[in-house]
């Protein structure tokens, strides 16, 4: 019997992009309330996929640990998905070189989600927070 390696991701949608974040990188998920800080960046904007501007995302995805946590807004959290490691495809060189925050393509029930570099994203988020402070 062959063991099948599986990976778990938090699947989400933001501004028309289907994204996947490795579960181990996600500290928390939360609803975004009306009075919450409007400066929380959109995850797709932080990845360079979407133009800037105020985010209307209703969910918060918190990455990192402890005081190093950083939050991003997303339109919708689809849930946790498990994917065979063989269904996580490395991005082609052109994508790796031009959009380095996008690591791979995860095939989930006939659709594809872009796996993001959560560590790099959190690091960028912390830098942006420091610059805004």
């Amino acid at each position: 019997m062959t063991a099948v390696l599986r990976r778990s991701f938090v699947a989400l949608h933001d501004r028309g992009f289907g994204l996947a974040i490795p579960c181990e990188a996600v500290h928390a998920l939360a609803e975004r309330r009306g009075g919450d800080d409007a400066t929380v960046p959109s995850i797709s904007t932080s990845l360079g996929l979407a133009p800037g501007g105020a985010s209307r995302g209703s969910r918060l995805v918190v990455l990192g640990d402890g005081e190093a946590c950083v939050a991003f807004a997303a339109d919708e959290v689809l849930g946790v998905v498990e994917v065979d490691a063989s269904d996580v495809l490395a991005m082609p060189e052109l994508v790796r070189r031009t959009l380095p925050a996008l690591l791979s393509l995860a095939l989930v029930d006939g659709r594809s989600l872009v796996v993001v570099d959560a560590e790099g994203l959190a690091s960028r988020g912390r830098s942006e927070e420091a610059n805004d402070a």
Binding site: G16, A50, L89, P92, V95
Partner: protein, 142 residues
């Protein structure tokens, strides 16, 4: 003999009203319409990725070269391997491959990365140099 040596097989494709050709020896597969995972923020021509043959391949939009409106959903998708880089081009129509024996510099082509042209059914078609195009996209990011 010399004509044979200089012959080339091209695949005529159409994107909107624009008819061009690509080197047929680089074509790995012609698919129907496929679901493209959209990307943005990179070079304008890089519009997404799709799974093909157990790997993710970049989807490039030919319409960015010919100055027509972008449309991700096109009826056919041509998968090409150019110097080890596999890319997919959504197109509206794919015609039968043709053997062409005359290739000449293209002076009036409206299509970028098409330095030469060939005749298909008596009409000049730009010959898209996909390797040069892909190379420019990678080079621009360096």
């Amino acid at each position: 003999m010399s004509a044979e040596a200089s012959s080339r097989v091209v695949l005529p494709i159409e994107v909107g009203p624009v008819a061009i050709t690509v080197d047929a020896t680089a074509v790995r597969e012609v698919l129907g319409p496929v679901a493209v995972t959209r990307l943005a923020g990179g070079p304008p021509a890089l519009v997404g990725v799709l799974p093909w043959g157990g790997r993710a391949v970049a989807v490039l939009d030919v319409s960015t070269l010919v100055g027509i409106d972008e449309a991700l959903e096109r009826a056919r998708t041509v998968v090409l391997d150019v110097a080890g880089a596999v890319v997919a081009l959504p197109v509206d129509r794919v015609r039968e491959p043709r053997v062409v024996t005359e290739e000449r510099p293209s002076h009036a082509s409206r299509v970028a990365f098409a330095p030469s042209e060939v005749d298909v059914d008596g009409r000049a078609h730009p010959l898209l140099d996909v390797a040069q195009w892909v190379g420019s996209l990678v080079g621009a990011s360096a």
